[in-house]
Structures are given as C-alpha cells and as structure tokens.
C-alpha cells in the first residue's frame, strides 16, 4: 500500500498502468495489486477535482445536518452526484463514512485537513476561495 500511495500521489489517481508498474516493481501479479487497491476507499481510479470534499454523512453528522451541507455543495459546484468532476476540473466530492471527529459535527476532510462545525455559508466561502485561487 505505501507503493500505491506514492503512485497515487504522483498522478492524483491510480491508472491501470500505474498499478501494473507497482506490481512489476514488487514482483506481484497486476490483478492482485488491483484487487488490493480497489478494496480501499482512499484509492481513486479516476481523476478527482483539484478541490475534493470528503463530507461525512454518517450517524453523528447526519443528526446535525450533513444533508444540508451536501445539498449546498452540490448547488455551489453544480455537481449532481458524488465522484463527478466539474468540467473545469476544480471540484468533486464524496459522501464518506464516519471520520472520527463527531464532537465537531457536521464535518468534512478537505485538502488533508478537517473542517469543523460546517454550515452552508462556510461551504459558500470555501467554494468561492477555491475559485479565486484558481484564477490567480
């Protein structure tokens, strides 16, 4: 998995070629490597948006309004479902399972850090900031 990690880090996702390369380096069957990679939710096989939101919608976040967060995210980005990428390549999102920060619900993981006490307004701000950063 550390090898797959490096491969994903390089390209942003795991292509069949990248997985075959990992298999060859480690002297493993490429089908085996693909089997391992597809088991885990943090490996991606299609490119993600440059700004990818992992929004927790499990129990504790659900009880505190994660549905409103997902709805606002869809509205702001124009995405209609998880794992789609906007045509400018800027945004994508996934509804994910409990991220273990339930005292700060609703929450999400975004750019390798946790964002807490989410409100629809906070989503507006983050989306706007990401758009501005893309223009600069």
């Amino acid at each position: 998995m550390p090898a797959l990690d490096i491969a994903q880090e390089e390209a942003g996702h795991l292509s069949p070629e990248a997985m075959a390369e990992v298999a060859e380096l480690l002297n493993l069957d490429s089908g085996y490597v693909e089997g391992v990679a597809t088991f885990y939710s943090l490996f991606h096989f299609q490119p993600l948006g440059r700004n990818h939101f992992y929004v927790c919608t499990n129990l504790a976040c659900m009880l505190r309004g994660s549905a409103d967060i997902v709805a606002r995210l869809k509205q702001q980005t124009g995405l209609s479902e998880a794992r789609q990428v906007t045509s400018d390549g800027l945004f994508s999102f996934a509804e994910v399972e409990c991220l273990g920060a339930c005292e700060y619900a609703p929450m999400m993981r975004y750019h390798e850090s946790y964002h807490y006490d989410l409100t629809p307004e906070l989503i507006d701000r983050l989306v706007e900031q990401a758009r501005e950063a893309a223009h600069d």
């Binding site: 998995m1 550390p2 797959l4 990690d5 089997g35 391992v36 088991f39 885990y40 939710s41 943090l42 490996f43 992992y54 919608t57 499990n58 129990l59 504790a60 659900m62 009880l63 505190r64 994910v96 399972e97 409990c98 991220l99 273990g100 920060a101 339930c102 005292e103 700060y104 619900a105 993981r109 390798e112 850090s113 946790y114 807490y116």
Partner: protein, 440 residues
C-alpha cells in the same frame, strides 16, 4: 488551534486527560517535564512477566470495542522463540460516533508511544507498528514528529533510557476500510493485502502479523498503560466498579448541546455523561434514544439514563459498552432513515468474505429504500426481520455482519410504529411533528 471539546485539565477521574490543554504537550520535552516516560523507565527495570501481572492486577480492559481483559491478552502471547514478534496499535478508529482515539493522539502522542513501548518490552517484542487510518492526517503527522523526537533522544533505538533493549516504532497508513478495526483484518492490511478477517483460532497472540506472535491493542488501551506503570495497578483499580476498572473516554455526539470526548470513571451514569457533561438535547426536543457504544450496539432509551456506563451495566440492559461512542438522537429524527443510513454504511464496508454480510447488508438497504420511497408493505417488514436473523448469531467471521442485524433489530424493536407507518401508510410522525411545530 481548534477548541478542545471534552475533558482536559485536572479533575476527579481525569487520568488520561489531566494534562490535555498543556501548552506544547505534544513535544517530548514538555511531556517528560510532566512525568512522561517515567512509566517506561520503571517498566524497563522490571521483569517482563511482572509487567503483565501488573496489567492483570489493574483490571484494565480493552477500549477498542470488545472490552477484553488487557493483561490476560498480553499473557496469551506465545513464548519468545528468538524470532520476531510484534505490538500493533490499532489506530484505525472508525466506529460511527467514536472519536476518542483521535482526541488522545492529537493531545498527547507521546503518551500513546510510551504505552506502545511498555507493551513491547512486556511481551518481549522489539518492533511496534501503529496502524492509523488514512484520513487521520493531523494525528499521523503528530505521531511522525513524536517518533522522530524519540529517535533523536535515543528512546527509540538500541539503548532506550540506557537499557540494553532495542525498540522501534513504525507508522502504517490505512486507506479507508472500516473492517480494519477488526484485528485480523488489520493484520491482513498491514501485510499489504485486502483487509478480510481471518478465522480465529489461531489468535494473533500465536500467529499474527507475517505469521508471528502479535499483540494488537487499541490506542486508548495503550495510552492508559503509562499511568498504570507510574502509579501502580492498585491505584488504577481504585477507579471504576468491581468488574469495570478505571476510567474511559466517552465520545458524546449527535443531538446534545456540548458534544465532546469526556473522561469518566466507569460506572458513571449516562445521565451524568449525556446531561451534566454534554448538556442534554436541545431545548424543545426530547431524547429519543442513544447508542451507548458506537452504532453497532443496540440503542438505549430515557429509562436507561440512570444506568452506569460500566461494561456489566450496559450489557445487563441488553446493549454493549463497545467503543463508548455515545450518539444521542432526539425526537426530530426518523428511526427508519437512520436505519437506512447505518445499513448503507455496513453494506459498503462489508469486506465481502462472508455471504450473509455481503448479501444481507445490500438486501437491507434495498428494502429500507423501498419502505422510505412509500412503496413498502407488510412483507418488507417481515423481510427485514428475516434479514437480521439470517446475518446475526455467529453466521459471519467477524462482528460486522452482526452489526447490520443489530441495527435493524434494535431500531425495529424500539420504533416499530415508525417502521409500520412508513411501510403501510407512507407516513413519518417525526416529520409531521416538526411540520406542526414549524407552522407548516
């Protein structure tokens, strides 16, 4: 820095969290200035078997979810044969509603590392692994820095604290799989495979990582070890009840005013935890139910609030203390929608090895979706009952399958009326009540 939500600072029964909130506690020098690594120092001067006895005497039980006696687990390790043996720390916290391992690692990474090293010496291992979930970016970075500090200080290496006993800790990053909380699935993953549980026996104590004897313990369990070594088992066992010793971290979340990770003495009542500490449900709402030990355990109701949170009291009420993830639900939420969300979770996270779990979870999701779409019927309710019976009661290798069954059973038993009104009449009384309250 993010505001700490939960126990921090001195207080009655604050064993693990007493120093939390201390400026710079994540740094070795500050941790040591507050007595850190005195437990390891003491341990390295003892016979390994005496440490295992100390753990047994403390009465500490595993805080991952199974609540198994820690000292006993340590004593099950195969005797040293000169080959490698491992301590593996399970930091793959992902039981819904549980955030206490993250809280521990972010506040005091060295406390965990010290516990890991004491465990290593006690079971005569030189190599520890910390398997940390991939989403825990900040705790992972903090642990990486802490390990680097220990290496620089010589506490990791050939001669820790001047003793001739080599110690090493490595971090291993998970990649998103709830099943890795199960210890044999975690070991498969550590070996670079799909995380599918192994049949037990053989238990990891005899054949664990790479076929070698391995001790797998949870973050909170290992974080408690330094305190026990510093203060002694007798001091530790003064806390708690007769059978559930010590304190534990309750992750309280959901519909409460002050969600947080609270350290309490075992035996404290849920009323104290959910109301005195967490502030209870928001004004104008009523407690509908709460999960006392993560989403996999049966729910409890208002009549259980005066129960103690110790392992025996929760079991006597028909639930389980599990991971102590307390999720509170008030009367605005619909039990059927919650059942669907939890079944989706277990269906997605099923590793696919055992047929009842792989197939049953998806059947439950399909059936609940049909009921919630208004196309349900009496036969769907019977089907749900058949699904839960067919998954539970030892039909799967690991408890994940049982959890799907438990979710359906506990919510249907407690809120039968809501399931019936959705399935038979396409109505939802919690929603209707809110509509009235909102003047719609």
């Amino acid at each position: 820095m993010t505001e700490l939500r939960g126990t921090h600072g001195p207080g009655p029964g604050h064993i693990l969290t007493e120093l939390f909130g201390t400026e710079g506690l994540e740094r070795l020098e500050v941790y040591r200035a507050h007595g850190g690594f005195e437990g390891l120092e003491r341990a390295l001067g003892m016979e390994p078997a005496a440490i295992v006895d100390e753990m047994k005497a403390s009465g500490l039980r595993g805080r991952g979810g199974a609540n198994f006696a820690t000292g006993l687990k340590w004593s099950f390790m195969a005797p040293p044969d000169g080959g490698p043996r491992y301590v593996v720390c399970n930091a793959d916290e992902s039981e819904p509603g549980t955030s206490k391992d993250r809280y521990l690692m972010e506040n005091s990474p060295h406390m965990l590392l010290e516990g890991v090293l004491i465990a290593c010496y006690a079971i005569q291992s030189h190599q520890a692994w910390i398997y940390i979930r991939g989403e825990y970016d900040r705790p992972r970075r903090m642990l990486e820095e802490a390990v680097a500090e220990l290496t620089a200080a010589g506490i990791l290496g050939e001669r820790p604290l001047g003793h001739n006993y080599a110690l090493d800790i490595r971090l291993y990053r998970g990649h998103g799989a709830y099943i890795c909380g199960e210890e044999t699935a975690l070991l498969e993953s550590l070996e670079g495979k799909r995380a599918q549980p192994r049949p037990k026996p053989p238990f990891p104590a005899l054949k664990g990582a790479w076929g070698r004897p391995t001790l797998v313990n949870n973050v909170e369990t290992l974080s408690t070890v330094p305190w026990i070594l510093r203060h002694g088992a007798a001091e530790y066992s003064k806390f708690g009840t007769e059978k559930s010793k010590g304190t534990r971290l309750m992750s309280v979340s959901g519909n409460v005013l002050r969600a947080g990770v609270y350290e309490v003495e075992l035996g404290s009542t849920f009323r104290h935890i959910l109301y005195d500490l967490a502030g209870g449900t928001p004004a104008g709402t009523q407690l509908k139910c709460f999960w006392p030990g993560g989403s996999s355990q049966p729910v409890l109701r208002a009549e259980h609030l005066d129960l103690g949170c110790d392992i025996e009291s929760v079991a006597a009420a028909g639930s389980a203390a599990g991971s102590a993830g307390c999720v509170v639900m008030d009367d605005r939420s619909c039990a059927v929608e919650v059942a669907l969300r939890l079944c989706q979770f277990y269906a997605v996270e099923s590793c696919g090895k055992c047929t009842p779990c792989r197939v049953g979870g998806n059947w439950a999701v399909t059936t609940l979706e049909r009921i919630l779409s208004g196309a349900g019927s009496q036969s769907d309710l019977e089907l749900l009952d058949r699904i839960q019976r067919s998954i539970q009661y030892g039909r799967c290798l690991c408890p994940l399958g049982d959890s799907v069954g438990a979710v359906i059973l506990t919510l249907m038993n407690n809120f039968r009326g809501e399931f019936e009104e959705h399935a038979l009449r396409n109505e939802c009384s919690p929603k209707r009540a809110q509509g009235v309250a909102a003047g719609v």
